[in-house]
């Protein structure tokens, strides 16, 4: 059994987001962190490793400095890392990215008993598309917004969180799950983990390594393979704090009407 975890290096949203003239992110000018939801996926994998002894393989697509982030994930306890990195892959949108990562996972191998874990979404794009697209392209079942994972042989039972409740979904391995922050609390890197993280295998999968994968074509990767065009990107304004009105129905309605009247809404 192995668990493949997809992680992404993202701009630290507490810093300023810079954009290139072509609309892609100017990563070089920003502080980077590991995407928070991806750390929940890593933790889920490591927790399964703690109980089953399975292998944890981490995969990221990004520029060469993303190796630093992969080393940090290895320092948390992952066993092996793959960095999918090539000029040909640059400028990929979610469609092209999932095409490339699915090819990389296919190359690593995903079979009976294996699970692919992704974070729900990355904080730089908030699309939540890459994980599900990878599952589609690998032709494996998927469960999104997972807040609990129970394993029983090759059966995986997940709690899938919805806006107004949750579903319990049972599926079979191999499958892909996208993880939300309610799933767990990510562990820290450990001192021995950091000491040993550069001794663990990290393989760079470049265009040459993946070009024979069926999913990789010149017109399915990079900017040319990306149907999305980014016109602009921006940090959305913070929502104001909400206000809870206490009291019985009539009282709160009167308070609410008064507040709306004060703001000249009614």
């Amino acid at each position: 059994m192995k668990i493949i975890v997809c992680v992404k290096q993202v701009p630290d949203t507490s810093g300023k987001v810079a954009v290139n003239p072509d609309g892609t992110l100017n990563r070089a000018s920003m502080q980077t962190i590991t995407n928070p939801d991806d750390l929940n996926a890593v933790e889920a994998a490591l927790a399964l490793k703690d109980t089953t002894g399975c292998q944890v393989v981490v995969v990221s697509m990004g520029p060469p400095p993303a190796e630093g982030m992969l080393r940090e994930v290895l320092a948390r306890g992952a066993d092996e890392a793959y960095l999918v990195s090539a000029r040909e892959f640059g400028g990929s949108d979610t469609f092209a990215t999932s095409q490339i990562i699915a090819a990389a996972i296919h190359r690593i191998g995903v079979g009976e008993g294996d699970i692919v874990l992704c974070g729900r979404q990355a904080i730089d794009g908030d699309t939540a598309q890459v994980g599900p697209q990878i599952a589609e392209k690998l032709h494996i079942p998927q469960v999104s917004y997972v807040a609990d994972i129970q394993m029983d042989g090759s059966t995986v039972t997940c709690k899938r969180i919805l806006e107004d409740g949750y579903m319990t979904v049972r599926t079979q391995t191999p499958c892909l799950l996208t993880c939300i922050k309610e799933l767990n609390t990510p562990r820290y890197m450990s001192v021995p983990g950091i000491v040993g993280c550069y001794d663990k295998p990290l393989t760079v999968l470049n265009y040459e390594a993946l070009k024979d994968e069926p999913l990789i074509e010149v017109d399915t990767i990079g900017l040319a393979g990306s149907p999305t065009n980014i016109l602009t990107s921006f940090t959305p304004p913070q929502k104001g704090a909400g206000m809870m009105l206490e009291g019985d129905g009539k009282e709160t309605c009167e308070k609410l009407a008064g507040l709306l009247a004060d703001k000249h809404i009614i």
Binding site: G68, R71, E72, A75, Y188, M189, S190, V191, P192, G193, I194, V195, G196, C197, Y198
Partner: protein, 383 residues
């Protein structure tokens, strides 16, 4: 790592990042409470143990994390930025108990004690100071008499860091009182040995969450195989141990000063008087610039001493310089920080008054600043 290019390598940066996240998330929220209630933060020790922080620079074969001395002092620095107590808990355990056993112990002693200490299952402490043997450590009155297959210890030790919670103590006693310094021996004493007990905790000005107590030996039976190092060679062992310990305390002082400066920078950017933020006044800027410069100088001394120890180079004077400068800087910086906070700084609403109280001890324990000057002058053959 050689600390010559004034830049940390990637692994030390990762360690700092991990220590900082841990300190901010797990240690900082407890700091005011454990100071107020004088409570030992056992839950923090348990968390540090899980992360391999209780044996950072010892080899993996003895249960350590296999990192280096610089990685260890960075841990104390980051912990002490938010909590001086937690910094000294780790320093006392590592520098004063694990280190002398690792550096002087027999293979059997190392295999028996280090895995339990490095895993955090056991906490370590060190007992040298006595009521009449402070800076003059040669005035030991605790005695150890060989009786068949064991030594019998009688006497007491005071001001012992971690004493209330420790399972293992490196203790010094006179085996040949006629020889003065050359009649002192070191022993590994377990808390459960017959005739050993721990006295009441001291009421302290700072580092109030740390456990500081008396050790009492009443016909305490210590197996002969628990002699640490050679008989009558304990004084040198104690001095060498304190050389290493001083780097830990220097790192604690450095962290306390840095933590106070961080708090003060944030405060002066928010606090408005005379329609201007405090940070806009030149006095504030100059004070902060002075403090930052002195703290960076202290950091270089601390890291250099740590790297020399890690590379097995002579470091006694380096450790003394690091502790002297870091401790006096910490006291000066925290006092200035309280001043910049004004009345609020004097209250327990803000952490700088605690940091000022915590800083003072770094000028006293594991050798006072005056002793540091003696060590430095001696290294320069000024006598």
């Amino acid at each position: 790592m050689p600390y010559t290019d004034f830049a940390l390598d990637r692994q030390h940066e990762m360690l700092r990042s991990m220590y900082r996240e841990f300190a901010e998330t797990e240690v900082k929220p407890l700091a005011a409470e454990i100071d107020e209630t004088e409570r030992f933060p056992m839950e923090t020790v348990e968390k540090m143990a899980k992360l391999g922080m209780m044996g950072i620079y010892f080899p993996k074969e003895y249960g350590g994390a296999g990192a280096d001395v610089l990685a260890y002092v960075m841990a104390i620095e980051e912990l002490s930025k938010v909590c001086g107590t937690t910094g000294v808990v780790l320093s006392g355990h590592t520098s004063l108990c694990c280190a002398p056993i690792f550096e002087n112990g027999t293979e059997e002693q190392k295999k028996k004690y280090l895995p339990r200490l490095c895993s955090g299952e056991w906490i370590g402490a060190f007992g040298l100071t006595e009521p009449n043997a402070g800076t003059d450590a040669s005035g030991q009155q605790t005695t150890a008499v060989l009786d068949g297959d064991h030594y019998v210890l009688n006497g007491s030790k005071i001001f012992i860091t971690n004493a209330g919670v420790a399972n293992v103590f490196v203790v010094f006693a006179m085996t040949d009182p006629s020889q003065g310094n050359h009649g002192i021996s070191a022993f590994i004493v377990e808390r459960t040995f017959p005739g050993f007990s721990v006295g009441k905790p001291e009421k302290k000005m700072g580092i109030r969450g740390s456990s500081t107590c008396e050790l009492i030996f009443e016909d305490c039976i210590v197996p002969k195989e628990n002699l640490l190092g050679r008989e009558n060679k304990g004084f040198k062992l104690a001095m060498c141990t304190l050389d290493g310990g001083r780097i830990g305390i220097a790192a604690q002082a450095l962290g306390i000063g840095e933590g106070a400066l961080d708090e003060t920078i944030a405060y002066t950017k928010e606090r408005v008087q005379f329609h201007r933020r405090l940070s806009q006044f030149q006095n504030t800027q100059f004070q902060i610039a002075d403090m930052a410069a002195h703290l960076q100088a202290a950091q270089y001394l601390v890291y250099a001493a740590a790297c020399k120890k890690g590379q097995h180079l002579p470091y006694s004077a380096d450790a003394a310089m690091a502790k002297l400068v870091a401790a006096e800087t910490a006291s000066d910086v925290t006092r200035r920080c309280v001043q910049l906070f004004g009345g609020y700084g004097y209250t327990r609403e803000y952490p700088v008054e605690r940091m000022m109280r915590d800083a003072k001890i770094t000028e006293i324990y594991e050798g006072t600043s005056e002793v540091m000057r003696m060590v430095i002058a001696s290294s320069l053959k000024v006598n």
